[in-house]
Subunit: 157 residues, 2 copies
Amino acid sequence: MNTQGIVSKGDFLKNWQGHRTLTRRTIEKFPEQDLFNFSIGGMRPFSDMVKEILSIAVPGLESIVTNVIEKYNHDLPLATKAELLERWDADTVKINELFEQISIDRFQENFKIFGEYEFPIVENIQYFIDNEVHHRAQGYVYLRALGIEPPFFWERY
Amino acid sequence: MNTQGIVSKGDFLKNWQGHRTLTRRTIEKFPEQDLFNFSIGGMRPFSDMVKEILSIAVPGLESIVTNVIEKYNHDLPLATKAELLERWDADTVKINELFEQISIDRFQENFKIFGEYEFPIVENIQYFIDNEVHHRAQGYVYLRALGIEPPFFWERY
């Protein structure tokens, strides 16, 4: 694996943090009320999707780094846009620190993340990223339905 | 790079094709009329997003493999769900064949995809995948708004 990889550890993290920057911009675009209340087709408001993303990233990495499997809890006590963004920024730093602690050799190791899904660690973390891209895109539709232009998809810096 | 990679060429392709399987399931869930006409907030119908995805994947890989830069054309002559799915399946095979032809060493090579975005080839292709996840998720919101349950996010097989 290590001799055939096409994505380095640093580039993998850079891609994730780039997506997180874009998700942060998406949160910022929401009016406070709509962030917590607007929804389409019985789906969750975007704030709940953001809480899901937050409850996966750092807790998931902590679990991997410490090798202790824990259930996730999506019900975070974050009740305002400012609180969501504050946690977002605190987690940006934690993600860098935790990710750094995963040795190259561990990424292919199977890990039963949150006690539910047993896959190689790199696939678990890719799933975190894909899940974030997925829910952020749903936030884009909410913004469009609210008449608000979402950020450009390439604004990852 | 090759000595530090955490994602192999084979796993990178497997992740992409897994996402493509899920996108195919998402297309299948749409009633024919809604696939081509339903939209929210002035966005495109899901069929147009699918055409965008199709017009990026194989043409992008062909461009990389042949080293000839071409503009993309999203306006594909696909007017029914059956035609979209037929092209989807044909492209599944082509993607495997074309991806295989990109040597490990080329993934870090800069390439100005579609004459617009100059990035390492692996980042170009990751962008194709992320763009697909993004638009598919918008299709999920359309389905929910139509009262249709989307496929499970982990149905990638």
